[in-house]
Symmetry: C3
Subunit: 213 residues, 3 copies
C-alpha cells in the first residue's frame, strides 16, 4: 500500500459525501430507508466497482466493510440533519470534491500498478469518479446529469493526466497524488464558480426519429 492513512481517512470522507448525494435524491423521490441506503451505496461504490471488475481485481468494498458502514452513517446523517444540511451546501460541496479527488487518485494508481497505459488510467479515474453518479441517476429513473453537466468528468480527466505527467517526470508518489488531487479540486471549484460547461453538441439535431430505426 503506497497510500498513507491520511488518504484512507479522506477516502471515507469522500464515500460519505457521495453516499449522501445518493440518499438525498432518493429521499426526495420518497424511497424507503432500504432503497435510499442502496442508492447511497451505489453512488459511493458503483464507480469503483465497475473499475475493479474491468481491471479484474476484487471489488474494493468486498475486502473492507467500512464502505458499507460509512454509507449507513450517511443514511442516519441525512435522517437527523437532512434539512439542516441545506444550509451547509458549501461544506457538502467541499466534501464531495475531496471525494472526487481521492477517487481519481485511487483509480489512476490501481491502473498504473497493473501496468496499464496512461489512457486506460485516465478512463479508470473518470469511471471511478463519475460512474456511481450515473448509476444513481439510472436507478432513480432520471437522465444522467453527467451527460449535460460533465464538469465532474472533465475534472477527473485533467486530474488523471496531471498524475500521469507527474509520475512520468519521476516525482514522488505522495507529491503526484497531491498534485492530482489539487487539480481535480481546482478544476471543479472553478467550473462551478464560473459556471463553465462544455458546449452542447450540435450538428445532428433533427435526426432523432430517423436514427432510431
Amino acid at each position: 500500500m503506497t497510500i498513507p492513512s491520511v488518504v484512507e481517512i479522506m477516502e471515507f470522507a469522500g464515500t460519505f459525501a457521495f453516499a449522501i448525494s445518493g440518499i438525498r435524491l432518493a429521499s426526495a423521490k420518497r424511497f424507503d430507508w432500504f432503497g435510499a441506503y442502496v442508492v447511497g451505496v451505489v453512488t459511493a461504490i458503483g464507480g469503483g466497482t465497475i473499475r475493479d471488475v474491468l481491471l479484474d481485481v476484487t471489488p474494493f468494498w468486498m475486502t473492507n466493510s467500512m464502505y458499507l458502514v460509512c454509507s449507513a452513517l450517511a443514511l442516519f446523517w441525512v435522517k437527523l440533519f437532512g434539512n439542516y444540511l441545506i444550509q451547509l451546501n458549501n461544506t457538502y460541496f467541499i466534501n464531495d470534491t475531496i471525494g472526487l479527488a481521492l477517487f481519481v487518485v485511487v483509480g489512476v494508481e490501481k491502473s498504473l500498478a497493473l501496468d496499464y497505459p496512461i489512457w486506460v488510467a485516465v478512463v479508470m479515474a473518470t469511471l471511478t469518479g463519475s460512474a456511481g453518479g450515473v448509476m444513481r441517476d439510472i436507478f432513480i429513473n432520471e437522465e444522467p446529469l453527467f451527460f449535460r453537466k460533465e464538469i465532474y468528468a472533465m475534472a477527473c480527466v485533467i486530474g488523471a493526466l496531471v498524475y500521469c505527467m507527474c509520475d512520468r517526470m519521476g516525482m514522488d508518489v505522495f507529491l503526484s497524488q497531491t498534485m492530482c488531487g489539487i487539480s481535480v479540486f481546482v478544476v471543479r471549484v472553478l467550473a462551478v464558480k464560473y459556471n463553465i460547461c462544455l458546449p452542447v453538441l450540435t450538428g445532428a439535431d433533427d435526426v432523432e426519429e430517423k436514427e432510431k430505426k
Copy 2:
C-alpha cells in the same frame, strides 16, 4: 456440490417464476417475443450474474443451459396461459417466494465457500434475490419497485443472516439451508399479508433541485 438435487429442482422452479414475472411485465408493455424473452432471462439470472462477476467465478448460467431453456418455457407458459395465470396469483406468489428463498441460499453458500465474511454473504444473497428485478425495471424504463417495496430485500437480508447464524452454530448444511429458506418464505409472506413496509426516508424532501448541481 453440497446442494442436493431436490434443491436443483426448486432452483428451476424459482427461475421459472422469476422469468414469468419479467415476461408478464414485458408483455404488458407490448414488447415482442424476443424482447419479452430477454427481459424474462434478465429477471431470472441477472442477480446471480452480477454476484458471480463480483465473486470472479464463471456466471452460473454459462455452465448449464437449463436456465435459458427454463426461461423459454416460461415464455410459452405466459403465451398459452397468460390470462388464466391471473386467477393463479397465489400459486404464482408461492413459486416466486420459493425462487427467492433458493436464490438467497445459493448466494450465501457461494460467498462462504470462497471464504468471504458474513456481511459479504448477506450482500451477495440480497443481490442474487433482488438485482434481477431491478434490472427488469430499468429495462422496461420504470423506477425500480425495489426501492419502495423493499420487502424482497429485507427477506433476503434476514434469510442470509439466519443461514450464517446456523452455520456458525455448527449446524448441518442441509439444516442451515432449510432454516434460511423458511425464514425468507415467512418474512415475505408476513410482509405481503400484513402489508409491512419500511418507512419512507424523510428529512431531505426539499433538496432535489439544490442537490442536482
Copy 3:
C-alpha cells in the same frame, strides 16, 4: 489471432458506425460534447465489454486505444457532417450492418476459443451486437428499442448459428466468418426492407398492476 487484418479494418468501420449512432441520439437530446462522446463509446464498446467481463478476459478496448480514438473521430464526424449525414442514410445503414456482422463474428470466435458450447457463443454474439444499443437507450433514459424492434438480435442469433454450423462441418475459419457475416447482413437488410418484426407477445396484457406487487 485467426482474424486477418481486413477484418480489423472492418471492425473499426463497425465501431465508427456504432459510435455515430450513439452520438447522434445524444446530440438530439442536447448532451454536451463529453456526454455525447461517452454515449458513443458505450454504444460501440458496451456489448463487447459485457461479453469480455462474462468470459473473464480483459475487455478488448483496454488493450488497444484505437476504439476510443475511433469514437472520438466519430464525434468530430457528427459535428462536421451531422446534417449532411441524414442524406447518407443508406451508407450509414451499410456501415452499421457491417459493424454488427463483425461484432457477431468476434463474439462467436472468442466464446468458441474458450471452449464454451454453441449456445453460449450464440448468447455472446447477441450480447456483443446488441447490448451496446441497450445501454445507449438506458443512458438517454428511453425504453430500449431492442425490445420492440429486435431484428438486430435476430440477425445476431442467426449469424452465430451459421458460424457454429460451418465450424462443425469443418469449414475453414475464414469461410465460416464470411458465411456468418453475410447471414447477419442479409437477415438485417431483408428485415428492414420488408419491415419484418417478431409479433408482440400477448396473453398477459391486463396484469401489469397485479404483477407489480
